[in-house]
């Protein structure tokens, strides 16, 4: 278990906070850590900042993540990692497609040539909108409270995909499944960062598996070609117990 100290806790929105900490560790965009909140559990978190000062951006959705958002400067941060493969970050014009909290793990890819499509259910749940200049961002909300009124994959259909060298996608699986349908067969390089129930983080417990691949170790980043034809992507998820449940995405 690695023991770091929180340097700063910055509120991003009502229930989203970014925690900054010093950690002398090479991490690739898209890699993640298992963050341990003693007494509350351990959760996978991707990194939102990878400079000398690292950061994670946490949305409070359960007791562990809520406790995490409440950490103050000087508090202990316990984690193990980094884990996973990370993105293959290409040169040239890039598009990030982030649904909900998905934009967090994509953000470290961003450079001067990167546009971002950020989607959320509603305006208040948009994350990192202000980190992109208006000229470089596309906003979509399910309820139309900001930007395009509709889903990410619908807005994506209105964007000139061919102008990008690479597209990186992260978000809820149903959103990514639909984005995949839009991008399938296009000649652009596309990678998806997946999220599944995760326990061990190191490729042995089989909780996060997807058609035989472990999201925590062989992922979380997969090329579009690896997901097309995957028998579980967008089709099944497994519960914390390992029970198979059919998704109603299609």
């Amino acid at each position: 278990m690695i023991n770091l100290k929180i340097e700063e806790n910055v509120k991003e929105s009502q229930n989203v906070n970014t925690l900054y900490f010093n950690w002398d560790q090479d991490i690739r965009p898209g890699q993640f850590a298992m963050i341990w909140i003693p007494g509350y559990g351990e959760i996978p978190m991707s990194f939102s900042g990878l400079g000398r000062r690292k950061s994670i951006t946490v949305k409070a959705y359960g007791s562990a993540s809520r406790k995490l958002t409440e950490l103050k400067a000087g508090d202990d941060l316990f984690l193990r990692g980094p884990y996973g493969n990370g993105f293959d970050v290409r040169e040239g014009r890039k598009l990030l497609v982030g649904g909900g909290s998905g934009i967090v793990s994509l953000y470290p890819i961003a450079d001067q040539e990167t546009d971002a499509l950020i989607s959320a259910k509603t305006r208040d749940e948009l994350i990192f909108k202000d980190r992109f200049p208006e000229s470089r961002r596309f906003i979509a909300t399910d309820d139309g409270s900001d930007g395009f009124h509709g889903f990410a994959h619908e807005l994506l259909q209105r964007i000139n995909i061919d102008s990008y060298e690479a597209i990186y996608v992260c978000g809820p699986e149903q959103m990514m499944y639909k984005v995949l349908q839009v991008l399938k067969g296009r000649k652009v390089f596309v990678q998806f960062s997946l999220e599944r129930t995760m326990k061990c983080g190191i490729g042995i417990c089989d909780s996060c598996s997807l058609g035989g691949k472990q999201v925590c170790k062989e992922g979380p980043v997969f090329n579009i070609e690896e997901l097309i034809g995957n028998p579980e992507f967008g089709v099944y998820r497994t519960t914390y117990s390992g029970r198979r449940i059919r998704l109603n995405v299609k």
Binding site: M1, N3, M34, W36, P38, G39, G41, E42, I43, D76, F78, R80, K199, C200, G201, I202, G203, I204, C205, D206, S207, S209, L210, G211, G212, K213, Q214, K217, P231, E232, T238, T239, Y240, S241, G242, R243, R244
Partner: protein
């Protein structure tokens, strides 16, 4: 060229390397993948009567190349597991169904169901907490073990493997209690704990966990040797096997086949193919024609 295929309790294996229970064996697609990547057989995650979440996270502590885990027998329940076995069977290699329970009746019910699902053998996980408490396991009670094994053997036709716990004073007593089993699996994890000194707390949500990996290899070798020498029965060796040398050490101690688990964490799924050619090279150089010739050769009489 040496032949690395072998037979265990009548089950043909293309090599002596299986996937150990509890590692990458809950999802049918994962089991299929491991078989396609070279594993001769997989043992499924231990399945119980009902769906069970197991323990909350953290469920694992990394300790060098070894692990301490307390997943807590998380499983979808026997009724939901047939589909996973069906998927895994597409790889056309043996599937061994692991089951856990607290008494002979439940064990038998699970084993019968596994047989219906078409598994090639049953593995009994005897590490459940004993109703007596005190941190004791089912597998430390010879009378209970004997009941369980005898009852199952009277109800199923496929071979039954008893996975014995190392957390006992007298392994021979337990092995003899399980003597109707077709083979022993040795060893299960060693009870252990890790404390984080900065949070001043045990790391695992369950506090205690099971130690696996290189740390326990010398313990596993000891048990395989001792039990093989005393009982002569077929044994599947497991505990800290990370490479072909470890596997051969287990085989020479008396194992007819071995299981790989924790090593997948460090070495990935390529380990099976790699161990296959390394084992073949070793056997060629050391003039062993068949696996059987190596089984128990280190045992001193």
């Amino acid at each position: 060229m040496s032949d690395i295929s072998t037979t265990l309790a009548g089950i043909k294996l293309v090599n002596p390397f299986m996937v150990a229970s509890g590692i990458l064996d809950e999802n049918g697609y994962t089991m299929k993948e491991l078989l396609e990547r070279g594993a001769a057989a997989v043992v499924t995650k231990s399945i119980g009567i009902s769906e069970r979440d197991g323990y909350p996270t953290p469920v694992i502590v990394e300790y060098g190349d070894s692990l301490i885990n307390a997943v807590g027998l998380s499983n979808p329940g026997i009724e939901n597991f047939g589909e996973e076995i069906n998927i895994a069977k597409e790889a056309k290699r043996p599937i061994i169904g692991s089951v856990f329970a607290y008494n002979a009746e439940e064990f038998t019910k699970l084993s019968v169901k596994m047989e219906e699902y078409g598994v090639d053998a049953i593995e009994l996980n005897l590490s459940c907490p004993h109703v007596k408490g005190f941190g004791l396991e089912v597998g430390s009670d010879p009378d209970l073990v004997e009941d369980i094994v005898n009852e199952i053997k009277s109800k199923v036709k496929v071979p039954v493997f008893a996975k014995l716990s190392p957390n006992v004073s007298n392994i021979i007593e337990i092995a003899k209690a399980a003597e109707k089993a077709d083979a022993y699996v040795l060893i299960n994890t060693v009870k252990a704990m890790a404390i984080d000194i900065y949070s001043r707390s045990p790391v695992l949500s369950n506090l205690y966990g099971g130690l696996s990996g290189p740390a326990i290899k010398p313990v596993g070798i000891r048990y395989v040797y001792e039990v093989k020498k005393e009982t002569g029965k077929e044994i599947i060796g497991v505990g800290g096997i990370s490479n072909y040398k470890d596997a051969i050490e287990y085989i020479m101690a008396g194992a007819s086949a071995v299981q790989i688990g924790t090593a997948l964490y460090k070495y990935g799924k390529g380990i099976f193919r790699e161990m296959e050619w390394q084992l073949r090279t070793f056997m060629d150089e050391e003039r062993f024609e068949k696996i059987e010739e190596m089984v128990g050769v280190a045992i001193k009489r």
